[in-house]
């Protein structure tokens, strides 16, 4: 059966159907060494340079569990309000693929380290509680590069290159319970959950969560059922959705696509699907019928993991302030409304503003720049705010330059754009572009006199006491100085000259 290729308009789709979403998120842990050997986890090394007999799966080699990875996973589990297993085992997930050195992955199956937790996510100003099914630990695979062929996948490639540096890096999988009831906000909720999880992981210092380096990857589950239906619909699992924006788009697309399938009285096929960054669509991968039998069984090369309760308690006691608690604190400290706060959180600006404040800016200024000029720029260029090539320290410096009167708001916007364009730090930009405000009276007086001479009618009005007319002369001076003049000082000077 071929699936209907057409889509239903989003608002129509959600008016007829209720979506249920679920997310499986893989996070590479930021441990110094790999999951089962001593090789470094550093990103971007020469291919196949961070490998050894163990992570290459050479015959005879054996894994030894990295205790730090267990600890990081327990941190995550505790922060997600999970139960930490007293005893659990790793399992082998068996399937053949060239980038998997042993042709099985050491993972966890029916005995995950953390189970049954939750996290609150703010969607449209309201808290939604997302249930956490499980958090388990596994090893990453190597990375394949398929050369030639149209799709970049192994089928049709001329040849493939495999880099095993990534093989064996500890990977945590966080699986949510199904999330019903988000309605039309399902795509936003999915994005908000991943954002919240990302912020949580960062706060826990267990991962640097660089989505562009693939250290956080999502599988997005979506099903639709008619409003009021007793049972949920058949779900699809869209694999490897690797940015916040893509998570939102993938959910949205699946809702539009599945609605069309259901409208045509067809059945949604339970299958994995591929997401396409370029056009935001998904296409079929493996269907359930072709699904692999992974033949899970307990990993006989490893002993069970049995975290002592005292250790778990110590980890619990050492947890840092978590994002939700911090939001409450910052809201009070910065005097924000609920709306301000949710805009900051949803825009991914909370950390950035916080760091900008830490670098010396006022909360109001930091918010103004990140949520104004920079948010607009991120939106236009389709990137996440945090991925803009500008640091909180640089924004704080721009703010300080405005405070000191060195530049004004208009110039500040130019400086920000120049920093984004790679022209260097704010001070360097101001200097190189000669953007500093001219507040030297001698230079300004010259420009003021020229403006008065060029506009005798306006000058006369001001002399007659109509000081509101001064604005026109200020504008002329600003134009003459290409915006670099201190407008307040110019106004004072004009009024002085024409008093």
């Amino acid at each position: 059966m071929t699936q209907a290729a057409q889509l239903v308009r989003y608002d129509e789709a959600v008016s007829r159907y209720e979506p249920v979403i679920g997310l499986e998120t893989h996070v590479e842990l930021g441990t110094t060494s790999k999951m089962f050997c001593g090789c470094p986890t550093t990103f971007g090394l020469e291919p196949n340079s961070a490998v050894c007999p163990v992570c290459l799966g050479l015959p005879g080699s054996l894994p030894v569990t990295n205790k730090a990875a267990i600890e990081y996973t327990i941190r995550i589990g505790l922060a997600l309000n999970c139960t930490i297993a007293t005893w659990c085992r790793f399992a082998r997930k068996n399937y053949f693929y060239p980038d998997m050195p042993k042709d099985f992955q050491i993972s966890q199956y029916d005995e995950p380290l953390c189970t049954d937790g939750w996290i609150d996510v703010v969607v449209d100003g309201e808290d939604i509680r997302v249930g956490i099914e499980r958090v388990h630990l596994e090893e990453d695979t190597g990375k394949s590069l398929h050369v030639g062929g149209a799709t970049g996948r192994i089928h049709g490639a001329e040849y493939s290159l495999v880099d095993y540096n990534r093989a064996g890096i500890p990977l945590v999988e966080v699986v949510t319970k199904p999330v019903p009831g988000t309605g039309a906000l399902a795509p936003v909720a999915a994005r908000a959950y991943v954002t919240e999880l990302r912020d949580l992981l960062r706060a826990l210092s267990v991962s640097d969560v660089r989505m562009e380096e693939g250290s956080l990857r999502c599988d997005v589950n979506v099903s639709l059922a008619p409003h009021g239906a007793a049972a949920w619909g058949t779900r699809t699992e869209t694999k490897n959705v690797n940015s916040l924006r893509s998570v939102e788009r993938a959910v949205r697309f699946e809702i539009e696509r599945q609605a069309a399938v259901l409208d045509a009285s067809q059945k949604v096929v339970q299958e994995t699907r591929h997401f396409h960054e370029d056009n935001g669509t998904t296409t079929p991968g493996r269907s359930k019928e072709e699904a692999q039998d992974y033949r899970y069984f307990p990993e006989p090369d490893l002993v069970p993991v049995a975290p002592e309760r005292e250790w778990v308690d110590r980890i619990r006691a050492s947890l840092p302030e978590l994002p939700a608690a911090r939001r409450v604190r910052l809201q009070a400290e910065w005097g924000l409304s609920e709306l301000d706060l949710s805009q900051l959180s949803n825009g991914g600006a909370l950390d950035l503003v916080s760091e900008t404040v830490a670098a010396g800016a006022s909360a109001a200024d930091a918010r103004k720049w990140w949520m104004g000029e920079l948010a607009r720029h991120a939106n236009e260029s389709g990137t996440d705010l945090a991925e803009l090539p500008i640091t909180p320290v640089q924004v704080a410096r721009v703010s300080a330059l405005v405070q000191a009167g060195t530049i004004n708001d208009k110039l500040a916007r130019q400086v920000l754009m120049a920093v984004l364009a790679g022209e260097g730090d704010p001070d360097a930009v101001v200097q190189a572009r000669g953007l500093a405000v001219v507040s030297d009276d001698a230079a300004l007086t010259e420009a003021v006199d020229a403006a008065i001479a060029a506009n005798p009618d306006i000058a006369a009005k001001i002399r007659d006491g109509k000081t509101a007319a001064a604005g026109a002369l200020v504008g002329a001076v600003m134009k003459e100085t290409r915006g670099r003049a201190d407008a307040n000082r110019v106004r004072e000077l004009i009024l002085q000259r024409l008093a």
Binding site: G60, L62, N94, F96, P98, K102, D103, H155, R295
Partner: protein, 510 residues
């Protein structure tokens, strides 16, 4: 050194060689040369070795001699030659596991056992033949042809460590390393008339042992005397942080136990399930004599029933193949070893299939398929899950038995060495060779096989198996050494002295 004297060197025990080297009566190089010469003379017929490492062996021997000359202390096995089963990785020799799929593979690292032997000054002569990936009881499953029993070259030397047992029984080496998953040390030792010991699981490191069944595989010693086996046991064992299943406990006092060699007051249990139909008359007769001997030496012998041992064989043939189906997945032609069909037109999947089709032998394929089936969704509980439950019951049988007795005994194998080819097409008959040895693998405890005479009907060696609780490896040596001493007194010398052919120290190439 004269040829005759060189011949005498190969007759010495490991303990005697180590003492002679330490005393300076003979150099390690002379000892090594004598054994390399013996290999050159008899191995064309025995075929114990897949690879003989003349140059590295002599270099290792020279290092021992230099150390001695410098006055540095030498370990208890320094300068003693050894044959290493080709399942242990070696960074200076190939490691094939008896398989085409690993032909020519040179590991970039030493197994922990290999490293410990080198550090102890043991001289590794080369790598011994084995059933492919240790799956078999005869070495007939080796891709490189079978090894031959030195007692009778038309018969199997046992397996899977048959190259190791044949090397020791033919005086090519006083010591060898084998690995035991279902009996692969004890059964070859028994049918070659030598000593073979399966240590407690986790007592010797698996790091660098190319896995067949991870929860069962155990490296251990083969030797011509119980004391030699104990010396090697001690040298190769101990906790290894590279093996998570390695036991973090002191090595049991096996050498002291082998020297103690006394069973007075010891409680010995005869496993009732391991007798009767299927046991060769001569095997049963020699075993019964051993029981009487133990009683005469002051042991208290009782019969002990271990009712679940009957299910050990079927449980083993679910657990071991299940683990093997996963362990052997990595041999896919992508990274090392054989690659077939990579002609630019085929997909990675096809190349994997063609490589495995060409690279694995029939028995390996059979077990991969058995294990794949047993682990499949919908069958897991009925097969792998049930087998694990049986495994627990077998452990409980042992626990109950060891509350009554200090050691359990049985024949090591139901029959003596069978002719090459006799069971090659009958896997079930082949599997029965491990009937008595499998329970100790499933329970992970210690078990040794020592020679207890010849079966009158065929004149071939019979092995006595002595089983002890986990980490009580020393008990098996204590009992084994007592039996050995009493029997050698009765025989007027070692059992091998009664051998014809190449198991005879003077037996040369024909």
């Amino acid at each position: 050194m004269a040829a005759d004297a060189a011949g005498e060197l190969t007759q010495l025990t490991a303990a005697e060689i180590a003492a002679a080297v330490a005393a300076g009566d003979v150099s390690a190089v002379e000892v090594t040369r004598a054994h390399l010469d013996r290999i050159a003379a008899v191995d064309p017929e025995v075929h114990a070795f897949l690879h003989v490492a003349d140059a590295p062996a002599l270099a290792a021997a020279e290092a021992v001699d230099r150390k001695r000359a410098a006055g540095d202390p030498l370990g208890p096995l320094a300068g003693v030659p050894l044959a290493l089963k080709d399942v242990m990785t070696t960074n200076d020799m190939p490691t094939t596991c008896g398989s085409r799929i690993l032909e020519g593979w040179r590991p970039p690292y030493d197994a922990t056992v290999t490293r410990r032997l080198r550090e102890a000054g043991v001289v590794i002569l080369g790598k011994t033949n084995m059933d492919e990936f240790a799956m078999g009881s005869s070495t007939e499953n080796s891709a490189y042809g079978p090894s031959h029993n030195p007692w009778d070259l038309s018969r199997i030397p046992g397996g899977s460590s048959g190259g190791s047992s044949a090397a020791v029984a033919s005086y090519e080496a006083p010591l060898a390393i084998g690995t035991d998953t279902g009996g692969s040390i004890r059964q070859p030792a028994a049918v070659c008339g030598i000593v073979g010991m399966k240590p407690t699981y986790g007592g010797s490191s698996r790091y660098g042992l190319v896995a067949f069944a991870s929860s069962l595989d155990t490296p251990g010693p083969l030797a011509r005397t119980v004391l030699d086996a104990a010396l090697l046991h001690e040298a190769m064992s101990g906790h290894d942080p590279c093996d998570s299943t390695s036991v973090d406990a002191p090595v049991p006092p096996v050498v002291a136990a082998a020297r103690q060699a006394d069973v007075a007051g010891l409680r010995v249990g005869v496993v009732t399930e391991f007798s009767g139909d299927g046991y060769q008359t001569g095997v049963q007769a020699r075993f019964n004599e051993a029981v009487e001997l133990l009683e005469s030496l002051g042991a208290k012998v009782v019969e002990v029933s271990c009712p679940h041992f009957t299910y050990a064989l079927p449980a083993y043939y679910l657990i071991a193949p299940s683990e093997c189906s996963s362990n052997l997945a990595r041999f896919d032609g992508m990274r090392y070893g054989l690659r077939v069909g990579d002609d630019g037109t085929r997909s990675a999947d096809e190349v994997m299939s063609l490589t495995r089709e060409a690279g694995f032998g029939a028995e390996v394929k059979r077990r991969i398929m058995l294990g794949t089936y047993a682990l499949s969704s919908g069958y897991y509980d009925a097969y792998y899950g049930k087998a694990q439950q049986v495994r627990t019951l077998i452990s409980q049988d042992f626990d109950a038995a060891f509350e009554q007795v200090d050691v359990l005994i049985s024949p090591t194998t139901p029959t003596t060495a069978f002719p090459i080819g006799e069971r090659a097409d009958d896997p079930m008959a082949m599997y029965l060779a491990d009937l008595c040895t499998i329970p100790s693998d499933l329970a992970g405890n210690a078990a040794i096989s020592v020679p207890c005479g010849l079966a009158p009907e065929d004149g071939l060696p019979v092995g006595l198996q002595i089983m002890a609780p986990a980490l009580a490896d020393d008990r098996t040596y204590r009992v084994g050494a007592a039996v050995e001493a009493a029997l050698q007194q009765r025989w007027g010398g070692p059992l091998l002295a009664q051998a014809k052919g190449l198991a005879q120290p003077r037996g040369g190439a024909r």
